[in-house]
Symmetry: C2
Subunit: 333 residues, 2 copies
């Protein structure tokens, strides 16, 4: 049997349960954006790790080394942000093919340092090794959060508003433009930049975790169609998303029209948005949403609500339910 | 310029200094077996990460999946042991080529679990992804230690006895036998097993760090010729090693004679021993050595001493100084 038959999560299910009885009390292991480990009386640690493999996660001549360094750290910071924690240290392993010049690695470290510096985050260790052919990057980030305040995927409540912290689908559209070598406009460049140099919502995540109405939280890495299902499964809840309310940038809308991309598919299944997906108690949402906009100068977008206990995700276009097949959009009724 | 011209440590030097001013007080970043991060009033955390790349660190059809899973964790536990800390959680990233069967991955996780279970160490998170061709494994381990007790490479004192916790060179000899397909004896099998399934000296490291006479400590991963130089550089000391006192297993001696391997070269530059290399105050050494042997049923081998402040490593054969060129043995005078 090959991995393609059971998928990443099928593989993880084969061993995860065997490690559960090794977990210490008040710890949380496999299954959320980060693991949680008790630290001192008042704080927990969160820890995440992500691997980026050449020709799977990036194509070496389609992203600058600077952006690659920046993005590799950003995708990890996004996991820490999703818990609501402040990152305190990063660890970088890199396997380097012989044909990469040191100057290119310097640029990669420039990008890594630029984002590290933004959050005053020290690179505390790592591993450097040869690779036979592909460039491989693995990063681990440790964060710190007030004890018990980490926002988990399992915390969604019936009636919660489902919100995201940014427009969806820009990164996936950027990727399509990169793959088709369509980068001849400012809008295209903007979308490509959204793909190559994502920003992690670190300060947003920290602030949101301090608001008592914020319940479940995670980051959007695979697209909300897949990511929201993790929240529903962990929280044993259902959800309704209104496709008409998905926040889409005018750049995405213009480029999608120009090249006949499906904007809804890009926004729901494209992935790599690295904004936050969260559920907020409906009573608190208006107040939190206003404060968020005042503080960060951007909207908290209400895209749907948590409902019932069916772990089922339903899609609406306004009042009309629409059908989407698993793993992407096959058609709309 | 290519990495081969400046080496791993040359590359690290190009960026490490830029992250130093981001470090928090009482933290320690790049440059030892683990980073150190303050935890609570009475404890520090230590963190290490190591990447194993197919065809660089292992050859897929020369090691069983079980041993590969076991060894991948062991090399990380060895770094935690080298600080004297108790491991509290591990994180595993794995990039998987399509042609690996799930059953083979199950075996890999069996080996990983067996060693985890030995130290009641939970696998707390990770990342699973596709790889275009090579199997890549990255592991991070977090450990905990009484505040200020972590043993650093910089702690060697003039006059200290230099000691190792096991025989040297077995793993490197095993590797030679694997590469030459010479596995037709029990001795060969034993040496190959030393290469494929190393044991991390976790309990030994924890106990040693509790002894006040134990100063610098690290694990033997590249061979003592290279590893001891890290202690000398960090401690600004020199050292003398007596080659006649290097602990060599009878299996290594017999196989080396049979196949005309150089046992001294294997023991000093072979690497992957994953025992501990430490320096101990000469007054405390006899007592610590006796207690160690009583407790663990194996010797603490005295192989030389720290002397002066030259950061120079001198080799002796009994009373006669011998010459070894950098990076390995070219000749003995």
């Amino acid at each position: 049997m090959y991995l393609s038959e059971i998928g990443e999560f099928g593989f993880i299910e084969r061993f995860a349960h065997r490690f559960k009885d090794l977990l210490c009390p008040n710890s949380m292991g496999i299954g959320d954006d980060c693991a949680v480990l008790p630290c001192d009386e008042n704080h927990d640690l969160v820890i995440t790790t992500d691997m980026l493999v050449e020709d799977i996660h990036f194509i070496r001549n389609k992203i600058s080394p600077y952006d690659l360094g920046y993005k590799s750290l950003a995708v990890n910071l996004s996991d820490v942000a999703a818990m609501g924690a402040r990152p305190v240290g990063s660890f970088l392993s890199v396997a380097i093919p012989e044909n990469i010049e040191v100057e290119c690695l310097d640029e990669l470290m420039d990008g890594y340092h630029a984002l590290s510096d933004k959050f005053r985050l020290p690179l505390m260790g790592g591993d450097t090794t040869k690779s036979p052919d592909k460039l491989i990057i693995n990063i681990s980030v440790i964060g710190k959060i007030e004890k018990g305040k980490a926002r988990l995927r399992s915390m969604a409540q019936s009636g919660d508003v489902i919100a995201v912290t940014d427009t969806l689908g820009d990164s996936a559209t950027g990727l399509q433009l990169i793959l088709r070598e369509l980068n001849s406009s400012l809008e295209a460049d903007w979308l490509i930049n959204r793909h190559n140099r994502p920003e992690a919502d670190v300060e947003e995540g920290i602030w949101l975790a301090q608001q008592s109405g914020v319940n479940a939280m995670m980051d959007v890495s695979d697209g909300i169609a897949s990511d929201l299902n993790h929240i529903l499964k962990a929280s044993k809840k259902g959800a309704e998303i209104d496709l008409k309310r998905l926040p889409l940038s005018h750049q995405l809308l213009n480029i999608a029209e120009k090249h006949q991309f499906n904007p809804i598919e890009l926004a729901t299944s494209g992935g790599e948005d690295y904004c936050l997906l969260l559920t907020i108690s409906p009573e608190e949402f208006p107040h939190i949403s206003d404060s968020f906009e005042n503080k960060f100068g951007k909207k908290l977008f209400n895209i749907g609500r948590i409902n019932g206990e069916s772990a089922k995700l339903k899609w609406f276009s306004g009042n009309r339910e629409v059908v989407i097949s698993k793993g992407g959009f096959n058609h709309f009724e």
